[in-house]
């Protein structure tokens, strides 16, 4: 079976790259699932989680300010910041959430909560 070549890239580093059977992401219009052979798509992601069904297990990642493109079984997920669920420092994210609540910064709060949600998956 054909597989997808997936690249998850943040602005300052390559977060993950490998083969996968499916990619799930949430765009402005709603959830989208990409299987091998999907037609070329370029879409904007809302801040949240991206699920990659890799050949060796499922990978969850929190993305912020991202978009994705699919063409010829290549999926690139680009985000200004991206973190794998396993990389997320839960304590730091909790602290960031508390701080954001105190400062009343909705953007930071959303970001911290996304990370906490993804980490708990």
């Amino acid at each position: 079976m054909a597989t997808l070549q997936v690249e998850l890239v943040a602005a300052d580093r390559q977060v993950w790259s490998g083969e996968a059977s499916m990619v799930l992401a949430r765009t402005l219009d709603g959830d989208i699932g990409v299987l091998p052979g999907h037609q070329p798509v370029l879409g904007i992601l809302v801040d949240g989680s991206v699920t990659i069904r890799a050949t060796d297990g499922t990978i969850e990642a929190a993305v912020h300010g991202g978009f994705f493109s699919v063409s010829e079984n290549r999926v690139s997920i680009l985000a200004e910041t991206a973190e794998l669920a396993s990389e997320i420092d839960v304590q730091r994210a909790e602290k960031a959430a508390v701080r954001a609540r105190q400062d009343g910064s909705q953007d930071d709060l959303d970001r911290a909560e996304t990370r906490l949600r993804v980490a708990s998956l």
């Binding site: 690249e7 890239v9 943040a10 602005a11 300052d12 580093r13 390559q14 765009t27 402005l28 219009d29 989208i32 037609q39 070329p40 798509v41 370029l42 879409g43 904007i44 300010g65 978009f67 493109s69 063409s71 010829e72 690139s76 680009l78 200004e80 910041t81």
Partner: protein, 305 residues
Amino acid sequence: MGAQLRVYRRRIRSVRATKKITRAMELIAASRIVKAQGRVDAARPYALELRRAVSAAASQAASIDHPLLVSGVESKRAAVLIVTSDRGLAGAYSTNALKESEALSRLLVQEGGEEVISYLFGRKALGFYSFRNRPIAGSWTGQTDAPTYEQAREIADALLAAYNTDASEGGVDEIHVIYTRFINMGVQEAAVLRILPLAVVSASAADAPTGAMALYDFEPSAEMVLDALLPQYVAQLIYSCLLEAAASEHAARRRAMKSATDNAEELIKSLVRAANAARQAEITQEISEIVGGADALSDATAGSE
């Protein structure tokens, strides 16, 4: 010990201490170049994928007049972001960037009749401008040796806000960046990059060797995708300029500190020679004084007998 010899010894000690410092700075800068280059490399996949996506979107949305793509009929005001270092002791690194910016400003003012708005990155540029009491539209300092994406984003937001404002209301029609290109360890040069209006259409031709681009579907629409992509593309361009400038800064500092160390070595060598000569002169003088004294003494005793 003679006064002259003491002065020489003191200078040798002080130059040796300076040499130790410059040597340490040279080694630190050398290790940081590698790190900075690593960051440039790490940012490359994002730049590549982003450029591909932007050119895909732009090629299919060619009929759309996106404000970031369209060159203004006549540019009245131009923003210039000058990337320099926070700290000195990097040779002519900051001076070269500032010199390049002066040349660009002159060109813009004389040939285009444009007004130049300055945005500054790095304390050296800030010092240069505030010393001359020039107006500053925005400045960022404190992170020139390891710029973060957040900072690049902040700069991009400020520049985009100015770009999206009408020129008559204090906005700008063009954005240029002056940064120092890292060519190799030995060569870095100040360069000008026009960031806005974007010239992505030419990039699409270079990136599509197979000819036609795949026909993309856009979620939710080509316009909205382009709207979201272009600011990110601008931020990424600025980020890569900052990263490259940081690598150049470390390379310039390493070179400056290497020649400082070499000069200190030369200076120590000539000072040691002078100190040796002074010591020998002192000894010779003492001997001749003793011999002269002994002669005078024996002459005196010979006379009394």
